[in-house]
Structure formats: structure tokens, C-alpha cells
Amino acid sequence: MSLNPEKVTPENVATETTNGMEHFHRKAHFWGRLTLFTLILMCFVPPLYMSFILDTHPGWGPIFTGLVGYAGFIGIMWVLEPITYYPTLGIAGTYLAFLTGNIANMCLPCSVSAQKAIGAESGSRKAEIAGVFGIAIASLVNIIVIVLIILGGTYILSIIPPAVESSFGFVLPAIFGAVLGQFAYKKPTYGIIAVVVGMAVLFSPIFGLIKIALCVALTISIILFMEKQKDKKANAN
């Protein structure tokens, strides 16, 4: 299956757990990169097929214009999003989430739910693995649902009651609120801070796309500062 068969060397007999995790990360990097690069190569196939096999090439000018337009519209997110979400996704989670998409509205909520269901502390190794289970399963479920809807689209939509369909107009605030609740129930103060920072950043007159990254950076700084203060107090007593 993998290119690095388990070699029993003196070094991985010693510390079992860290090495287990090292091994996991090595494999995650290998398979993550392999699948991402495969998909990147695959991304060239449809446009090349359209242009040169079907002979509907629009000329390089429009293609270039389109790409520049796209980069101007959202290009900053190519860099910002992986960095913003990395602390919550972890190594394997990042490979999974960026291949399957829908990070905020599906991957992260499922990752957190899986972590909370087994009581793993966020940021811990256990949480990282639990999150991988959550995202990988979500990715599979998502694809199956999408394929079913695409193959039987109109029929499936016709049997969904209109009330249910309109309810789904509120799917995003409901998911985001619920995820916030999953964190806030143990530490309500931090939940309130997050919403206050979120609102403040939302209404500040800055470039829209960097708002979420800014909000994450601010919240991390504030909470780290508060934890430091707590430690100081604890040490003083």
C-alpha cells in the first residue's frame, strides 16, 4: 500500500506514541501530496480536451483574462485559507479538507463533532485522529449525496417538501451557530469573545476576504493572552 514499509529500527522501539504519530504524519504527507498532485494534473484534462480535442479553443486571451479575473476575485484565499484553517484541521485534515471542499460548512463541523463525541481535547493528538475520521467520512457521505442528487436531481427535489427546502435556506447560520455552541458550552467567555471579535471585524471597513483570517489571528492572540494571565495568577498564588 505505502512506499515506506515499517522498518524495525532501534529508534522506533523507544518512544511508541510519538513515533506512531510521526509515522502517521509521514504517511499523511505522502498520500496527501500524491492525491492532491494527481488531482492537479487531472485539472488540466477537461480544459485541454475541450480546447484541442473538441476544437472549441477560445484563444489564450480570454483564458488569461478569465484566470486573472479569478485570481483577483479570490486568489488571496489560495494562501490565506489553508493557513487560517490549519490550526483546527491539522496535517491530515488539511489534505482531506482542501481536496473535498466545503471546509467551514461541512469538514470542520464534522471534525469537531467527532472530537467532542469521544471527549478529545482540541489540538491534542487524539483530537487530530478523531478529526480525520470525521472529515474522511463526511467527504464520502458528501460525494454519495451529491452523486445521487446529480443523477436523480429533479426527481429528488420534487419529493422534498417545500417547507424542508426553505428551511435549508438557513442551513449555514444553523451549522455555524451549532459549532460555536460546541466550543462555548465549556467556556462561555471565549464564545462571547469570538462573537464580539467576529462582529467587530465584520463591520470594520477592511477588505472583505481577509476578515476571517484577521478574526482568527485576533481571537488566538486574545485567548493566548488571557491564558497567560491565568497562568500568572495561578503561579502567584
Binding site: 480544459p47 489560495w78 491534542s124 475520521f133 470525521g134 458528501n142 458550552y185 464564545g191 481571537t219 491564558e227
Partner: protein
């Protein structure tokens, strides 16, 4: 779209490509499940906890997946099924994808919904979406290793820091995302707040009563209560 474009947009070769895309995503998910299962004992996860995590992922993903699928239908009308499957199965939200399609069409000098939207315009859209969407893939493929090394450095300096950073990053991201959604309309606000409080109640009940199964259902239940409450407010 006109007939000629529609024929190309749902031609067999494009379907085959779409299913290769889907196959790659599924393959990756299965590989990661396998290596995570192997590493679970190393981080102190029992096989029961593995099952719980998998079940929770399954239950939690149903709601969001349907939400995604419903939005998807609007894209099919614009781009045809195969391209929709290619794009959404991989990356980006429906909103990003529609905007990207519009940008591609405009680059060729037509509107996405106009009768002049020719096969050449459609090809421009395919180029724009496929290469534009690669940005995330490239960055994640190239730089996840560096991010991992940064994490290791932070952990060496302060082992506790990463757990704080991780939950703070999550709070920050969702504090912003929830705020952004909740200012859309009063019903959106209600959906967010009701879901938040339902989740808090569910988690507290699950902790106090030791109902571990309730935690698996928490996201699904909170989401449905939030959505239903918001829907009822639209009836008056």
C-alpha cells in the same frame, strides 16, 4: 444554455472525467481512514472510540451534505452535471463556483445566461474554473509540510500552546462565520442563536446524563432545531 453547449456540457467524456475526479476524492478519504485506523491505538483511541468518531462523522455530515446538494442544483442549470460534479466534489463553495463561472464567461465577452453563451465561452469557463480552483490544491500540497513543522516548533516551545491555538482558531473562524450569516436577516439571526443554545443544552445534558450517543447526534439535532425555528419565523 443553448442546445449545442448543453450537448457538449453533458457529453460522455466529461462525465468520465467527472467520475475520475470523484474517484480520486473517494480514494483519498478511504486511504486516510485506513491510516488513521492504524494510528488510533498510538494516540490512545480505543476501537469503540474509533467507531464513535466514524458514526459521528456520518451523522453530522448528512445535514450539511443536503444543504450543499440543494445549492448544487442551481449550478447544474448553468454548467451541466459533469462540470458541476467536477467542481463541487472537489473544492469551493457553490457561491464561489457561480462567481467563477461568471468571470470565465465575461472573459470571453458574454453573459453566462445569455443565448450567445457558445461552446467557446463554455470552454473559457472550464479553463477558468479548473485552473483557478487549483490554487488551493497547490498551496495545500506544497505548504502543509511547512505548516506542520511550524506546529512542531510551537509545541517544542510550549506544549500547551497548540491546544489553546487550535480551539481559539476554531472559535475565531466560527465567530466570524456565524456573525456574517446572522446579520443577513432576522430569521438568520434566530437560526444561529437557536442552534447555538440547542447545542449548549444538548452538550450539557449529554455530559450530566452520560448519554454519549447524544453527542454523536448533537450537530444534526442543533442544526435541525435552528433551521426549523428560523423557518417558522418566516411564516408570520
Amino acid at each position: 444554455m443553448n442546445e449545442e453547449v448543453a450537448k457538449v456540457a453533458s457529453s460522455t467524456p466529461l462525465w468520465i472525467m467527472a467520475f475520475i475526479f470523484v474517484g480520486i476524492v473517494m480514494f483519498q478519504a478511504l486511504v486516510f481512514l485506513k491510516i488513521a485506523k492504524k494510528s488510533a491505538p498510538d494516540v490512545g483511541m480505543s476501537s469503540r472510540e474509533v467507531k464513535t468518531a466514524i458514526r459521528t462523522g456520518f451523522i453530522s455530515s448528512l445535514g450539511p451534505s443536503f444543504g450543499i446538494a440543494i445549492v448544487l442544483i442551481s449550478l447544474i442549470a448553468l454548467l451541466g452535471s459533469p462540470l458541476t460534479l467536477m467542481r463541487i466534489g472537489i473544492i469551493g463553495s457553490a457561491a464561489t463556483e457561480s462567481a467563477a463561472a461568471g468571470i470565465g464567461a465575461n472573459a470571453f465577452g458574454v453573459e453566462l445566461t445569455s443565448d450567445d453563451f457558445s461552446t467557446q465561452a463554455f470552454t473559457t469557463v472550464v479553463w477558468t474554473m479548473c485552473l483557478g480552483g487549483m490554487g488551493w490544491l497547490l498551496f495545500a500540497a506544497l505548504f502543509t509540510k511547512s505548516l506542520g513543522n511550524t506546529q512542531k516548533k510551537i509545541e517544542k516551545k510550549n506544549p500547551k500552546a497548540m491546544t489553546i491555538i487550535s480551539s481559539a482558531a476554531m472559535l475565531g473562524a466560527f465567530g466570524y462565520l456565524a456573525s456574517e450569516q446572522m446579520v443577513t436577516s432576522v430569521s438568520h439571526t434566530i437560526a444561529g442563536i437557536v442552534a447555538l443554545f440547542s447545542m449548549v443544552v444538548i452538550m450539557i445534558v449529554a455530559e450530566r446524563g452520560n448519554f454519549s450517543w447524544l453527542k454523536e447526534w448533537a450537530l444534526g439535532i442543533a442544526m435541525v432545531i435552528g433551521m426549523a425555528s428560523a423557518y417558522f419565523t418566516t411564516l408570520f
